[in-house]
């Protein structure tokens, strides 16, 4: 299992070099979720709540086995239950453990204007640092998976940390430890991806799921949580997993390119004015 202290790879809204970068090479971590062997037992939900010391909350019945409609600021790990009718009329009950995907190219981090509120470690974990969070919720819109959740009383945003505290100590995330069927595993990205590919192949060859595959969307640079899906061509049916998750173009195009250029152009007005003064001089009241 990958271990070692956490090295930061990217910091939200940070100018200048990243402290300690390059000091230590570290392997990418990855959570493997085999949706095809998940039994939706919610042991991972309990483990998450317990490890992160999250308060109990009253839930209400909502026409589903799902504990609540979506993850919450204090409920980071949620099995999403989806009834899916296949073309041949047969039914599938898809249970997908929803949590932060820890994108390689995290939209939240990209969107975040607060220096250090979101960091990405070299092992791939994207972690929120609430002490730096300014509560602007740009990350909420920046995330293609609808993961960051705002707590209106603390005015901060929270999400799954991939148990960065545990991983930093060389442990697996709490949810992994809890899974009774072994559909959750944790390891290096390479290993988990290989495992997932092998499982997907098994599903294609032996279980009649011709479209079985691994969900590791390249559009966000890959994720550090990967799913084995019965049908990787239609991830939407697993409780709204986007087929092609993209950070909204507003964040990519605008923030990466247009924004700095725009600002430069705007600020160009100052030297123009200055040189106008130098070259044309002031227009004094005449005479």
């Amino acid at each position: 299992m990958p271990s070692g202290t956490l090295q930061i790879k990217a910091i939200s809204a940070h100018s200048g070099p990243i402290p300690g970068q390059g000091v230590q090479r570290e392997e990418d971590v990855c959570k493997y979720i085999d949706v095809t062997t998940c039994i939706g037992c919610k042991a991972c939900e309990v483990a998450c709540v317990e490890w992160n010391d999250m308060p109990f909350q009253q839930t209400t019945f909502d026409n589903t086995y799902q504990t609540m409609p979506a993850t919450a600021w204090n409920y980071w790990n949620l099995i999403k239950f989806n009834e899916h009718q296949r073309d041949d009329g047969s039914l599938m009950w898809l249970m997908r453990k929803d949590q932060c995907m820890h994108c390689e190219d995290p939209g939240c981090l990209r969107a975040c204007p607060a220096d250090g509120a979101i960091v990405q470690y070299t092992n791939g974990i994207v972690d929120f640092q609430q002490e730096n969070c300014i509560g602007c919720q740009y990350c909420v819109s920046g995330c293609p998976f609808d993961i960051p959740k705002f707590n209106s009383s603390t005015k901060k945003v929270y999400k799954c940390t991939l148990c960065s505290d545990r991983v930093g100590q060389g442990l697996e995330p709490a949810c992994i430890k809890a899974c009774p069927t072994g559909c959750l595993k944790f390891g290096t990205k390479t290993d988990m991806r290989a495992l997932a590919d092998a499982r997907a192949q098994q599903l294609r060859e032996h279980s009649g799921f011709a479209n079985a595959g691994v969900y590791d969307p390249p559009s966000v640079g890959g994720t550090h949580v990967i799913y084995v899906l019965h049908d990787a061509t239609k991830p939407e049916q697993y409780g709204g997993l986007p087929a092609n998750p993209v950070i909204p173009p507003t964040y990519t195009i605008w923030k990466r390119a247009a924004k700095p250029i725009g600002l430069l152009l705007a600020l160009l007005a100052a030297p123009v004015a200055f040189f106008h003064y130098v070259m044309e001089g002031p227009k004094e009241p005449a005479p």
Binding site: S3, Q169, G170, L171, G182, K185
Partner: protein
């Protein structure tokens, strides 16, 4: 496996930097680990020459010893330094008999033998050579590879459904073998009321697994609490727990390389 030695060395210096009281001990251990690593490296480089029978491997193993003796003679505590000097004077035969005795009738009280044989046995283990002339009794609580006693116990979580639980780390070859929870690693006591562990918040990932039947203990390194601990080094760093356990009248199953 040279990496694992390096990991131990790095961990020793990391821990030394953190804890003033234990620093001298860890510094000393770190220096020893360097010597052991080099010894391991030279053995590993000549692994083709090794047979697994120490008697036949003496020539190769012996070559490591003078450096260790010289270093201890120079920097070791007075008594060990004195012994090192005597052994240097004793020449090859003294060294050989020391090694063979440590190999065949192991004891945690033979410092030099243990220090050298750790490198040797570990090299055998990594090269897949089974010890031949070390006919020690087999039991659950000794190393299935070399017959050595356990130095430290390790708790870790299942990475998948096929692992997890507790392991013991061999004091000689430094390999691990699975061992049940709630079982005295010395006398096999299973009665939970006789077993128990002592824990201090100062060492969150360490436990003193004690048995009130045989009044022995060994430390456990709980990798489920600190996954990046290096058990054999963290064991040494938990020295205050040893002193505490001894005060309570428990004896350690196997002293570590620092005699604690």
């Amino acid at each position: 496996m040279r990496d694992s030695w390096q990991k131990r060395i790095d961990r020793a210096s990391e821990l030394a930097a953190r804890d003033e009281a234990v620093r001298p001990l860890l510094d000393a251990y770190g220096r020893l680990l360097v010597l052991q690593r080099d010894c391991y490296a030279s053995l590993h480089a000549h692994s083709a020459r090794l047979s697994g029978a120490l008697e036949r491997d003496l020539a190769t193993v012996r070559a490591c010893v003078p450096r260790i003796l010289n270093e201890i003679a120079r920097t070791g505590p007075p008594r060990l330094a004195e012994q090192a000097r005597q052994m240097i004077d004793g020449g090859e035969s003294a060294i050989d008999s020391m090694l063979l005795m440590g190999w065949r009738t192991p004891s945690d009280e033979h410092f030099f033998a243990k220090a050298v044989l750790q490198s040797y046995a570990n090299c055998l283990a990594t090269d897949g050579l089974h010890p031949i002339d070390r006919d020690l009794p087999r039991a659950d609580n000794v190393c299935p590879f070399c017959g050595g006693a356990p130095q430290v116990s390790i708790l870790h979580h299942a990475a998948d459904t096929d692992g997890g639980g507790r392991e013991l780390l061999c004091a000689t070859c430094l390999t691990t073998w699975p061992f049940r929870r709630l079982l005295c690693a010395r006398c096999g006591e299973e009665d939970e009321r006789q077993l128990g562990y002592f824990h201090s918040p100062a060492y969150d990932h360490l436990r003193v697994d004690a048995c009130d039947t045989c009044k022995h203990y060994l430390k456990s390194v709980d990798l489920t609490r600190l996954g990046r601990a290096v058990p054999i080094v963290d064991e040494v760093a938990g020295a205050p727990l040893d002193l505490w356990a001894r005060e309570r009248g428990y004896e350690k199953i196997e002293l570590n390389l620092l005699g604690l």
